[in-house]
Structure formats: C-alpha cells, structure tokens
Symmetry: C2
Subunit: 198 residues, 2 copies
C-alpha cells in the first residue's frame, strides 16, 4: 500500500467510527480533520467533497459488513447452518469490527430515506445487494430440502432483517439482557414456519 492509499484507508477508518457514533450527518471534512489530525486541505486531496466522502464511507461500511458477516459464513455448510451463521455474525458484527456505536449502514438508512441524491442511491444499491445475499442463503436451504419447496425467500429475508433491527433496538437502546436470545428465538420460529411438513 502506497503512502496515499495508506492515508486514505486511515481517513476511511476514522469516517466509519464517526458515522457509527454520530451518524452520517456528523461526517464532515471538518469533524474528520479533527479526528485524524489531518488538515482540511489534506482531506480534500483525498475526497473532493463531503458527498464523495460519505459515499466512500458507505462503501467501506458495506465492504466491512461483507468481510465480517457473509465471507466467513461461506465456510459453514450451505443451507440452514449457513443461514444461522450469517445471522449470528450479523448480531455482533459492529463489535467485531470496532464500530462500537452501532451499524453505520443502519444509521444511514434512517438519515437518507428522505434525501434524494447520489448518497441515497448508493445506500439503496448496497442494501439491495445485502438483501440478495440473504435471499441466496435462504434459497440454498430450499435447495437442500431444509426449507419447503416454493418458500418465499424474499419474505424470509424481509423478516430476518426485521429481527436484526429489533435486536439492535433491544440491545442498544433498551439494553435488554435477553435481546440476543429473543432474536435467536425469532429466527428459529421463522425457519420452523418454512420447514417442510414431516
């Protein structure tokens, strides 16, 4: 990695932590200069605008999600073991990747839902791809026969995402000690509802 790429990576790391902590709204060239100790003009050399910086940070968050959740889950057997592995990793992926203040993509989803523009478009594309990966994992469980033929994998993915959101809420805001076990119960109920009749 050259010096320029190295600096860019450091800036993006700081941007991820900032977005985790204060949302993308708090992600400005100014706050990032303060956090990295770089000059504003130095930052502008890497990211020509706040929007460019926000998009790069979204990409960095999505890539880290893929590396932390989906990639390692490929080692689990295809079918339900892989679905469960993805889910389990998803529950604590922010802690596993140093984003202790929560998922930046989730924060961005609420911040940009009503703000048309390139950042929103980018975010939607990233969530679409996440949803496709999840549908593929459920689809493999249909292929293995663990889930009933014709199961609606889009519906299953919609509900799995809801369980993760409920978990974030219960764990992060409500500090509920049973948050993870409730999330696991919910996933098992979802799986049971799509299991072929014996």
């Amino acid at each position: 990695m050259g010096k320029g790429e190295d600096t860019r990576a450091k800036i993006l790391e700081a941007a991820l932590v900032q977005a985790s902590e204060g949302g993308f709204e708090s992600l400005t060239i100014g706050t990032l200069a303060a956090r990295t100790g770089l000059s504003k003009s130095g930052l502008f050399a890497h990211f020509g605008s706040r929007e460019e910086l926000q998009i790069a940070a979204l990409d960095a968050a999505a890539n880290r999600f893929i590396e932390t959740v989906f990639m390692p889950a490929l080692k689990a057997e295809r079918g339900l073991p892989r679905v469960r592995e993805i889910f389990e990793r998803w529950l604590h992926w922010t802690d596993d990747s140093g984003l202790t203040y929560g998922c930046p993509l989730h924060a961005a989803a609420l911040e940009f839902d009503d703000r048309p523009g390139p950042v929103r478009d980018h975010l939607v594309a990233r969530y679409q791809s996440l949803q496709q990966n999840l549908e593929r994992a459920f689809g493999l469980a249909v292929d293995t026969g663990e889930l009933a033929p014709g199961s609606d994998v889009a519906q299953l993915s919609f509900e799995a995402l809801g369980i993760v959101f409920a978990y974030y809420h219960a764990a992060r805001l409500m500090r509920h000690p049973d948050a993870a076990s409730r999330a696991r119960n919910a996933l098992e109920r979802l799986i049971a509802s799509a299991t072929p009749a014996a």
Copy 2:
C-alpha cells in the same frame, strides 16, 4: 387554550416535523426559530434549554402515537382484531399524523442509543410503555383463547416491533411496493405460530 399554551403547542408541532425530517440532532432552538418565525428568546421563554425542548418533542411524539395508534384501536374487539388494528394503524401512523418524513421516535432511538442522559432515559421509558401496551394487546388474545395459553407475549411484541422496523425500511428507504403486504404476511405468520393447535 391560553395564548402561551397555544404558542407552545405550535412550537411542538414544528419540532415534531423537524425531528421527523432531520432527526433530533437537527432540533435546536435556532432551527426551530427559523421554522416558526419566533425569536430565539421567545423560544427560550417556553423551553429553557435544547434538552428540555427535545424531551418535550419526544413526549409530543409519543402522545401522538398513542392517540393515533392505540386509542382508536381500543374500539376493535379485544384479542386478535385489536392486535391487527394496532399493527395496521402503526404502519401508516406517521402519514396519518402529518409526520411525512418518518417516525421521530424511531429516529431518536438510533440517535440516542449511545448518549446517556435525560433525553435517552426519557426515550427508553416511552418505548417501555409502548412495549407494555403491545404486550397487553397480545395478552388479551391469549385470554380470549385466540393465542395459545402460555404464549410469550414479550417475544411476540419483540417480533412485532421488528416487523414494523422492516416495514419502515422497505417502504421508506427501498420504496418497495410490497412493503405493506410483506409486513402483513409477517404478522400473520407470527400469529399463526402462537395459535393453539386445532
């Protein structure tokens, strides 16, 4: 309503719309002065601090939620009809109450989950009460025999909240045309999983 109360109500209305649009982070005496046309000192006469303003706006949002979702649902028969009525109203309560940019309480949940203090404490108490109302509605459906005896109403409420979050995400960010039907399917699946065996 006296003139003072009238002005206070107008300020809170503007605060709700502002929080719906830009989150509680955007809710300052300054942005609210611009939105209402009142002077900053006039606003300070009603709310002595930004924190006081944020707490009053949270209360206003929670009260409006109760008036728009829970109160009218009391007219539905206790048991599953009431559960479904609450859920249905919940899906479009922001549109029904002029908060077209989304649920301010949901925005606050992500903004304050890592910020200890009176605003966070207040928000947690409001969500606890929401969760209790929801558990009570599920509990009545156990009493009527529509749900199995011993159903875990806390678990059902956790999952119902997750379905609403997934719906907000699919409808607001992804602009998915099937968002509402997926949410209804998910609720029916949840209900079916707790229905007593025939």
